[in-house]
């Protein structure tokens, strides 16, 4: 691909995303009346969400075709909705607002464009769509592009629809199709676009909070205040997207040989690094020491996302994923947690708008029927519901955030009563059901791997690991908390917060132990019930036995008493995480539960403003609270999945906690810089700068490492370029298949995260079986896969044409692919294909046969 066409691709992609965003500006203006920025920074995600939803829903209902025409029509509907929002003089209001806020808009747009171009440039230095889960994501995008209708075909299990939260991929596929960029290039452009959208959204949120805060304290807006907020806005993307764990600093220290001592035999040992117990870093560095981190035969940048190590009672390390946004973008997997980021921030903006007294359905009426008639309700449900379809884990979290904000607002005005709890649950339930209802066709074909909640008896996060991960964010968060403790919190309020925190921790711990004991006891009760004559009790008994055994298996057969005792002892021996969280929660609860402000003269004054608005700083504490709850929960419980560990729970919960705390840290930093004076200011500023530098160490060194020293030698955005270079035969075969009519293709089957399934991944044609491990995860088991793994082996290895033909017919195969990977995986008997099937493509190492009479119709 030439440089010019790469630049054209970048421009076209950004223009398309911007056009969709521009269309949604009137909608954002209408949706966020209480925010100074009117949600303009989130117009792109809002537009993409609406466009994607309309296209997908109407496509699922058979009204729109999964083609460009359908996309154009869906876009037309968004335009009409937007134009409708400009009626009744609103276009004049919007025009006036745009003129007044031109400078802010220019900053947001400049930031977005700059981030997009910069990151597209970075992506071009390491654009390969390979390793980790990139192939899976590209396979989804290609599959959506090639499917004639929704739900899209599963690229790795022919005849089945995708069983995964795939909405993000629908949006990328739509952008790919309309911009006419090759999907492997679009993959990298989407990564840059998502980063740009997230950066703009973060800027907008921090700008809004700081400006609202400044206005609440200083009355009317002034140029100075706006300048302060415009500058503070940059802290949003800085904290959430750029700053990272301090693991980067540790890499420097490790490479420099700090704390390592050579013993008599010259062997390096270190008590510090052993105590730290982070894999790779607990091994001696290469000599001579040179302070520049490097790791031969491994990805240096990978370790940052695997700082945490769960330790079994037997002393075995279990991998835990602790990704943070910069790592995710550096890795550049377009995984659901990355895809969801702009949309989760859209939800945060909805919550902020509600908190600031926005024209929400909740404020207009408390009757359900009135809600259903309210467009605002459906918009909220649409945005929240999308999260389940983009990254299911985020759905309950953000529904919870939105409902908590409302319940808290009522608490502020009406005080505590049990009705608040009911109100919280009712809102959550109604909003949740509405969110599910809007995306109902998705749930029809979705099989979740989630299998309930398990107590985390053995596993907990060590304090040092927790601090390595979150230190950069915790410093401003705790700084803000302490500032409140010192200036705004009475002792009784502090104790009230402490009391609630203690109750929360005690309840969580108690539930964990009781639940754990109960699960262990299943091993005993289950077999007794299983022999019951009552069929229901018998089935229940069998299930209990199975569950109890599985749970005991997780704990390697250790006796229940020992596991339960150890779970307590471990927490007492390494209290760093929960003590940290207890401190943060105590102050946060104290601040949030306070209903009156303490002012000079010791008189209490209601903090609810005359126009019903609340102190926006409290919203920051709600974010801190949510971050804390998301990190305290996996200390006691985790969601059961195929892995049986808390790997994914930590991954998904900590990632969201990073966003909440990142936003709070950004706002907190701005507010503390503004308010602190004297020695406190000096201490904070020193700490702030130190943590900032520590947080920047990772991006600096890892960006350099991953881009091979910012090498421009092979710069391209084409994610398939490496195949063209290293395996041109395969590349040309894939190009041929990309243009061939639809149909099932067979290829070698192998493990996850490898090069297997590369043909279906890059051509968009479904294969009989791709990565079996992933299929099993998506579908919660291997029932659908049946005997496909063995059947494909038989197909390639048998010399008997009739036997091969049976496999071809069973799976309605149209194309048989024979490349180097097939030859190295199987003892391929090519003769039977050559004698019986037309060879439709061949080069020196690749053969593609077509099975006559297979029209491409897919069947399970």
């Amino acid at each position: 691909m030439s440089g010019i066409s790469e630049i054209v691709n970048i421009m076209v992609w950004y223009l398309v995303v911007s056009l969709v965003g521009l269309t949604a500006v009137p909608l954002a203006f209408r949706c966020f009346p209480s925010l100074p920025s009117r949600g303009i920074a989130l117009a792109r995600p809002l537009g993409l969400l609406l466009w994607g939803f309309i296209f997908w829903l109407l496509g699922s209902l058979g009204v729109l075709q999964n083609d460009l025409g359908g996309q154009v029509l869906a876009f037309l509907v968004v335009v009409l909705l937007s134009v409708n929002n400009l009626r009744n003089g609103r276009h004049r209001l919007l025009g006036a607002w745009l003129r007044q806020n031109l400078r802010t808009i220019i900053i947001i747009e400049a930031l977005s464009l700059l981030v997009f171009i910069l990151w597209a440039f970075i992506r071009g230095m390491n654009p390969e769509v390979t390793y980790t889960e990139k192939p899976m994501e590209l396979a989804f995008i290609n599959s959506i592009l090639r499917s004639s209708a929704f739900p899209p075909q599963d690229p790795w299990l022919s005849g089945f629809a995708i069983s995964y939260y795939y909405f993000g991929y629908v949006i990328i596929a739509m952008l790919t199709r309309i911009s006419e960029v090759a999907s492997a290039t679009a993959f990298n452009l989407a990564n840059a676009a998502w980063l740009a959208m997230t950066a703009a959204a973060l800027y907008g949120i921090v700008y809004d909070i700081t400006l609202l805060w400044a206005k609440q304290r200083n009355g009317q807006s002034t140029t100075g205040l706006e300048r302060f907020s415009r500058n503070a806005g940059f802290l949003g993307p800085l904290y959430v997207l750029m700053l990272s764990t301090v693991e980067g600093v540790l890499e420097f220290l490790h490479a420099g040989g700090l704390f390592w001592k050579a013993d008599a035999q010259g062997k390096l040992t270190s008590r510090f690094w052993s105590w730290l117990s982070i894999l790779d870093l607990n091994q001696p560095p290469a000599r001579p020491f040179d302070w520049i981190p490097s790791r031969s035969g491994g990805w240096l940048w990978w370790r940052g996302s695997r700082v945490l190590q769960d330790l079994t009672l037997g002393g075995q390390h279990i991998e835990v994923i602790d990704e943070f946004p910069f790592f995710s973008y550096l890795l550049a997997d377009m995984h659901p947690h990355v895809l969801a980021m702009p949309f989760t921030l859209l939800t945060v903006t909805f919550a902020l708008n509600l908190f600031m007294g926005g024209d929400s359905y909740l404020q207009q009426s408390r009757r359900l029927l009135d809600w259903f008639r309210n467009l605002n309700f459906w918009m909220t449900a649409l945005v929240l519901g999308s999260l389940a379809f983009i990254n299911t884990w985020d759905f309950p979290i953000y529904v919870g955030l939105f409902c908590l904000v409302w319940a808290y607002m009522r608490y502020r005005t009406e005080g505590w009563k049990m009705a608040l709890l009911w109100d919280f649950l009712k809102n959550g339930l109604v909003l949740g059901i509405a969110g599910i209802f809007l995306y109902l066709p998705f749930y029809a074909g979705f099989g979740s791997q989630a299998g309930g909640i398990l107590p985390s008896l053995e596993f907990m996060t060590r304090g040092v690991h927790f601090w390595v991960l979150f230190a950069v964010l915790l410093v401003p968060v705790i700084g803000l908390s302490l500032f409140h403790l010192k200036n705004k919190l009475a002792l009784r309020e502090f104790w009230a917060g402490a009391r609630i925190t203690l109750i929360l921790l005690a309840v969580l711990c108690f539930l964990m132990l009781v639940y754990g004991a109960l699960l262990f006891s299943f091993q005993q009760w289950g077999p007794e019930l299983a022999v019951s004559e009552n069929p229901y009790l018998s089935t229940l008994g069998a299930k209990m036995t199975q569950g109890g055994n599985a749970f005991a298996g997780v704990h390697a057969g250790y006796p229940a008493v020992e596991v339960l005792a150890q779970s307590l002892l471990r927490r007492l021996r390494a209290p760093g995480t929960w003590v940290t969280l207890a401190v943060v929660l105590t102050i946060t609860f104290g601040v949030l539960l306070k209903r009156k402000a303490r002012v000079a003269g010791d008189t209490d004054q209601a903090e609810v403003g005359a126009n019903g608005t609340h102190d926006v700083e409290l919203f920051v504490f709600i974010l801190i609270l949510f971050g804390s709850l998301l990190t305290i929960f996996p200390e006691f419980f985790y969601l059961r999945d195929q892995f049986g560990t808390r790997m994914n729970t930590i991954f998904k919960f900590y990632f969201q906690a990073w966003i909440f705390w990142g936003l709070a840290a950004a706002v907190g930093s701005a507010l503390l810089f503004y308010q602190l004076r004297g020695w406190r200011a000096t201490i904070f500023q020193v700490l702030w700068i130190v943590t900032l530098l520590a947080g920047l160490a990772y991006p600096a060194v890892m960006l350099y490492n991953k881009t091979d020293g910012f090498s421009m030698e092979k710069w391209t955005l084409d994610g398939n370029a490496y195949i063209r270079e290293y395996n041109p035969d395969e590349y040309s075969a894939i190009l041929w298949l990309q243009k061939a009519p639809n149909g099932v293709v067979t290829e070698a089957v192998g493990g996850s995260y490898t090069d297997y399934a590369r043909v279906s991944t890059r051509s968009g044609l479904p294969t009989v079986l791709g990565w079996p491990g992933h299929e099993s995860q998506w579908r919660g088991g291997g029932v659908e896969m049946g005997s496909r793994l063995e059947d494909i082996r038989r197909l390639y290895e048998t010399a008997d044409w009739e036997e091969a033909l049976r496999v071809l017919r069973d799976y309605n195969v149209r194309y048989v692919y024979v490349g180097n990977l097939e030859r190295s995986t199987y003892q391929v008997e090519t003769m039977k294909f050559e004698e019986n099937l037309p060879l439709v493509f061949s080069n020196s190492s690749t053969l593609i046969f077509e099975v006559p009479g297979q029209s491409g119709a897919l069947q399970p």
């Binding site: 083609d67 025409g69 006559p852």
Partner: protein, 561 residues
């Protein structure tokens, strides 16, 4: 009383004129409508209607109106060439009534002359006889404008909805309309918001109802989006038909009217007439839009025809209203002179073009035969004007030219209506005319009858032949399969391949070449070729052939090795 009687008389005469024009338009559009087989372009659309009619899943292209209406027709009647082309022909016929809406603006004489020109325009006839949505878009949009001018918002919306469903052909019309509205916005009356809402609502409902065939084909509405995509893509992709070829074909098709249109336009501009300016911009914009598009086709120039014909109609009306002359004899003499001498000159020109020249002397005689009658005409006209009556001579000259132009238009219309001797050489779309249909169907039906006793029962496999016209032709066969590779295992009775392919077990088959499509190779045509095409519809041809393979055992004594 007399006045009322006079009005009635005028109305009935006008009614009669429109009726005659409508009949003529209908004749030119419906006569032998189903004779010519559908070409690839037409068949690709008709097949979508056919698949929908059979309840099969199909991805609809951007012509929802044509596809859904044709599906309905296929449901009521049989899927045939006639039913596939019915709706465009009907829309093209009704187009001649559009000038009625503009009688106030044009004047009643201009309006009926325009109606007549619309009926006989070769480009409009071509698009009306083509199985596609262009005629629906054109007639719908013009009717919408007409109803709009006459303050009928609901009908305006209905027509607009029909036009919107008309496919990619709608968008250039919409662009031109937008350009005109932008330039002449002050000249148009502003409509109330309620009227616009009514127009929008009725257009939206019509679009929904038509494109989805009363909501029975939901994805039809999606095809409306595809129409925009198809039009946009024509600018980036397309088959890149030669610009000179398309322009020449168009000029030759509308040649008799071009001078009148140009005359009318220049005269109007000189007078500062807003209408002439508007029509000029319309013609220019649509001409550029049609020809600048890389996927340009002769039939896409139908948006140019409307202003061109309107300008011509205005000029022609201006000329023929003054034909009454005191000196009828001179008038008639001049008419006879013009017709006779120009025809004589033309015959010599035809001879010069068509017959190979034997020698220099014959060539000289032919050239003299072409030039001399024209010099003679010039001399006689000058003498008549000088010696008898200048006014009568001028009118006679014009009347003669109008008669000759009318004859040429009629001739072109006749050919455009596929009523000429070689309809396959008409330049329409880039798809060739499937001239081999008869031979193919006869051969296959013979074999089928011989083998199964029924014409359409034998199994036919079409291998890697991307010709929708072929799929359309085989639509009634019970066992016709289309694939990219030959299924030797199935051993089909008849295999159709391209001429460079053969069945994998070719020893079991006997092959027969069939000329499948023919089309004029306009890329290679020179001036002389264009003249021949214009006069006799002969031209260098592009041909595609296919091979019909019949299994050996289908022939008496034949066996499979």
């Amino acid at each position: 009383m007399n006045q009322i009687h006079g009005t009635r008389k005028t109305l009935s005469l006008e009614f009669l004129v429109y009726l005659v024009v409508l009949l003529a338009a209908g004749l030119l559009r419906f006569t032998h409508l189903g004779v010519l087989p559908l070409n690839d372009h037409e068949a690709s659309l008709a097949l979508q209607a056919l698949h929908l009619n059979r309840g099969e899943q199909v991805i609809l292209s951007g012509e929802p109106g044509y596809i859904s209406l044709t599906t309905a027709l296929f449901y009521i009647f049989q899927p045939t060439e006639f039913t596939a082309r019915f709706w465009p022909a009907l829309a093209g016929t009704l187009l001649v009534l559009v000038p009625i809406f503009f009688r106030k603006q044009l004047g009643s004489t201009n309006a009926w002359i325009l109606a007549a020109l619309l009926a006989f325009d070769p480009v409009l006839i071509g698009v009306s006889r083509s199985a596609e949505g262009g005629a629906l878009a054109l007639s719908g949009l013009l009717a919408a404008i007409g109803f709009g001018f006459n303050r009928r918002p609901v009908w305006c919306g209905l027509s607009l909805g029909l036009a919107l469903a008309g496919g990619p052909g709608f968008w250039p019309g919409m662009i031109i309309l937008a350009v005109i509205l932008l330039i002449f916005k002050k000249g148009f009356q502003h409509h109330e918001g309620r009227s616009l809402a009514l127009v929008a609502a009725s257009a939206g409902i019509t679009l929904l109802v038509i494109s989805t065939l009363f909501l029975t084909i939901p994805q039809g509405i999606s095809a409306f989006g595809s129409s925009f995509v198809d039009y946009s893509r024509s600018w980036t992709g397309g088959n890149r038909t030669p610009l000179v070829g398309v322009t020449t074909a168009w000029v030759l098709s509308v040649l008799p009217l071009l001078p009148f249109a140009a005359w009318g336009l220049i005269q109007g501009l000189v007078r500062g007439d807003v209408g002439a300016k508007l029509l000029g911009i319309w013609a220019g914009a649509s001409f550029i839009l049609a020809l600048a598009n890389p996927a340009r086709q002769l039939l896409d120039l139908y948006w140019v025809s409307i202003p061109l014909l309107t300008l011509s109609a205005i000029k022609l009306a201006d000329l023929i209203t003054g034909f009454t002359s005191e000196n009828r004899l001179i008038f008639l003499a001049e008419v006879v002179l013009v017709v006779a001498l120009v025809v004589f000159s033309f015959m010599n020109a035809v001879n010069l073009v068509n017959n190979p020249l034997q020698n220099q002397e014959e060539y000289r005689n032919r050239v003299i035969g072409v030039i001399l009658p024209l010099i003679l005409l010039l001399g006689m006209t000058v003498l008549l004007a000088w010696g008898w009556s200048g006014d009568a001579t001028r009118k006679g000259l014009i009347a003669g030219i109008v008669i000759l132009a009318s004859y040429t238009i009629l001739s072109n219309s006749w050919k455009a209506a596929s009523l000429g001797t070689r309809p396959e050489i008409e330049i329409r779309r880039s798809s060739g005319a499937p001239v081999g249909l008869g031979e193919l169907m006869t051969t296959v039906a013979d074999i089928s009858r011989f083998k199964t006793g029924i014409d359409h029962r034998i199994d036919v496999q079409v291998v890697n032949l991307p010709h929708p016209s072929l799929e359309w032709a085989l639509r009634n066969f019970e066992q016709a399969r289309f694939s990219t590779v030959h299924d030797s295992g199935a051993s089909p009775a008849i295999v159709l391949t391209s001429e460079d392919q053969q069945p994998t077990d070719s020893a079991s088959y006997r092959g027969q070449k069939i000329l499948w499509t023919v089309k004029p190779d306009i890329g290679s045509m020179k001036l002389i070729d264009w003249l021949k095409w214009s006069l006799f519809r002969t031209a260098p041809e592009e041909r595609t052939e296919l091979v019909l393979w019949a299994r050996n055992d289908l022939f008496p004594g034949g066996t499979i090795p």
